[in-house]
Amino acid sequence: MSKKVRRYEASTGYRGSEDYIVSDDLRNSVNIAIALQKPLLIKGEPGTGKTMLAQSIADSLDKELIIWNIKSTTKAQEGLYVYDTVQRLYDSQFGEGDVANIKKYIKLGKLGEAFITSEPVVLLIDEIDKADLEFPNDLLWELDQMSFYIPETKETIGAVHRPIVVITSNAEKELPDAFLRRCIFHYIEFPDPEGMERIIKVHHPNLEKRLLEQAMETFYMLRNVPNIQKKPSTSELIDWLQALVVGGISPNRIKQDLPFLGVLLKKNEDLDTLLNQLHGKTQSRSPNYASSSLNRYRY
């Protein structure tokens, strides 16, 4: 391996930024990834700040952030470069520009962009699991070697500085093992109430204590309702608090009225489920037998 491991200096590493609370183990993982020069793969529930992390790393290390958003139709090639043949064909038809110069029609993608910048950058590959199953495999070489070859121009684009690569995944799909082996992996846990309070303080520094208490209690209550398909997450809680403040809701009413519920629960089914639960509508499905305790005996 030609890569040199940088001596780890805690003082120069990533330490979190003002608007982003980072847990110790996450900060460790980031620094390990930076030092080992491997991509950092971040998984976790939606809304636990996976995407924000890249921004925070960029801010804290004072680097530019390049974001490559992955969609279900994204191909690995697009991140490297696109050869705009259609434009070239058009130009040749109407005699515009120098068609002989293929370079003109090669457009670098986000990954390519991150390679050729003169300053080291942070590259975020967002929601990699959205793409096809083979997508990560197609990027193995490029992420490993930080270079790729353009056959059309017989050029090799190599990274001037190895970018810090952060990859996020919502765990919609498993990623291939070969890809995983090359990454540093971190799973962001859903924050416990204490951690959550710290996060909220960053976003709403002057929140009334009682409002926060009530809102948090309601929030964790909602998360624990069984059979909710899309559990409300951190970002939704922050939006909700904003709505509560703007709406001037009295803290005493939060638990009873559940105001602005639509901010927390985004699915109709979830709202129905919740209402069913709250009104104690238990559907009795046992006309003949009522002893539910016996139900434990399964064979």
Binding site: D25, S29, V86, L180, F185, N227, N288, Y289, S291, Y299
Partner: protein, 403 residues
């Protein structure tokens, strides 16, 4: 010592490769673990473990391996002697908690080094020197929220205890061997959309060349509709007690189906032994977490491919009689077999996968119900082979046997 840890991890089912091990050693050389076991724990986990499903196995392996070694090495012997004394537990007040802000690990290490250089006598209690009790960040049996424990037992949950907490237990998915084969088999379950609907977004190269030639060289682009898989899948899994034996196999299939991203829609329900009025949302078959079978029949169109996984062996009355349901407090007005027939009639593309090997079907306990059910659904054993056959069956409509 480290190489042993590598094999311990492997034994506990954490798939580590040489590649990652190399990376870990590099990281250790770079001093990234600090000199604390906690630092080492997080470093190992970040480098070696690649999915939250394996966090739990890693925790167990780590606790098993380092359970006895809770101390950084390389401290002078006399410090060990000072520390080898047990003390009564220190009472911790809130005030004390507030007095100690968390110290940074590096700062701690620096301070520890300084103190090692300065300290020349045994020390117990107090808040500065290395020793037992007290609130100095160094030593054991004392209290300091961010201190380094040296020797002794953990009193206030620090260092390696994190691993023992096993917070990631619920992420286990278990057993991935053979998943890939299932996955490959499932890939064959696809049917491309017709080219009659949807937006024309793909450049048809051949068409373009033809048209352009027709126009004597004047470019004309031809677009066509992309081909997508239109297959929708409904997976019904038996989560009854008798299925426990086959849980590994079923998990593999489950993982493979879940990983398959080429289905247009994938719905999963669970049932207990036989299907009656309710289909449950999770394997626990909790009775407040279900969808009516009736609703499923009404909502999902007949072009859903239905894969039922179950051992199909139960007491004959469970299948044939009104009220035959195994759950004591539930009652079914229609016998299970009727529900199965209705499902089969509605979903013409359906198949039953049975984890019991085929040559047991005729004589084991549930032989009667297995025979009855296989008269309704085309039944295949749950093997890669059987899955492939079932998928072939799912691609075309099979005759529905209604007796």
């Amino acid at each position: 010592m480290f190489t042993k840890f590598f094999y311990t991890l492997k034994n506990f089912g954490v798939p580590v490769s040489m590649n990652e091990w190399q990376a870990l050693l590099e990281a250790l050389e770079g001093g990234m673990a600090g000199s604390s076991l906690t630092g080492f724990y997080y470093l190992c986990r970040a480098v070696l473990v690649k999915t939250e499903a394996h966090y739990d196995r890693f925790d167990i392996a780590f606790a098993a391996f380092f359970g006895d070694i809770e101390t950084p090495e390389g401290l002078p012997d006399k410090i060990w002697e000072w520390l080898n004394k047990e003390l009564p537990e220190l009472e911790i007040t809130d005030e004390m908690r507030n007095n100690h802000q968390q110290l940074d690990l590096d700062e701690l290490k620096r301070m520890l080094e300084e103190r090692l250089a300065e300290q020349d006598e045994e020390h117990h209690g107090g808040n500065r020197w290395i020793g037992t009790g007290g609130t100095s960040p160094f030593g054991h049996s004392g209290y300091h929220p961010g201190g380094i424990r040296i020797g002794g037992q953990s009193r206030n949950l620090s260092a390696v205890k994190v691993a023992g907490m096993r917070r990631f237990q619920e992420f286990r998915t278990d057993e991935t061997l053979g998943v890939r084969q299932f996955q490959v088999a499932l890939r064959k379950l696809r049917q491309f959309t017709t080219r009659l609907e949807g937006a024309r977004t793909e450049l048809d190269l051949d068409g373009t060349v033809n048209k352009t030639c027709d126009n004597a060289g004047r470019l004309e682009l031809v677009w066509e509709r992309p081909r997508d898989n239109a297959i929708k899948v409904l997976l019904l899994m038996d989560a009854g007690g008798s299925m426990l034996t086959y849980s590994r196999l079923c998990n593999q299939l489950f993982t493979a189906v879940n990983r398959s991203n080429h289905f247009k829609d994938l719905q999963i329900f669970y049932f207990h032994n036989c299907i009656y009025d309710w289909l449950y949302h999770d394997p626990a078959c909790r009775q407040n977490d279900y969808t009516d079978t009736e609703y499923v029949l009404r909502t999902y169109s007949p072009d859903y491919r239905v894969i039922i996984v179950g051992d199909a062996s139960m007491a004959p009355y469970e299948l044939m009689r009104v009220g035959g349901i195994i759950d004591w407090d539930l009652h079914n007005d229609k016998p299970g077999i009727e529900w199965l027939r209705r499902i089969r009639q509605h979903f013409e593309y359906s198949a039953w996968l049975n984890p019991i090997p085929r040559n047991y079907w005729d004589w084991m306990d549930g032989a009667f119900t297995i025979r009855k059910i296989s008269e309704i659904f085309p039944m295949q054993p749950l093997t890669v082979d059987g899955l492939e056959k079932a998928i072939t069956a799912l691609r075309s409509k099979q005759a529905v046997a209604v007796n």
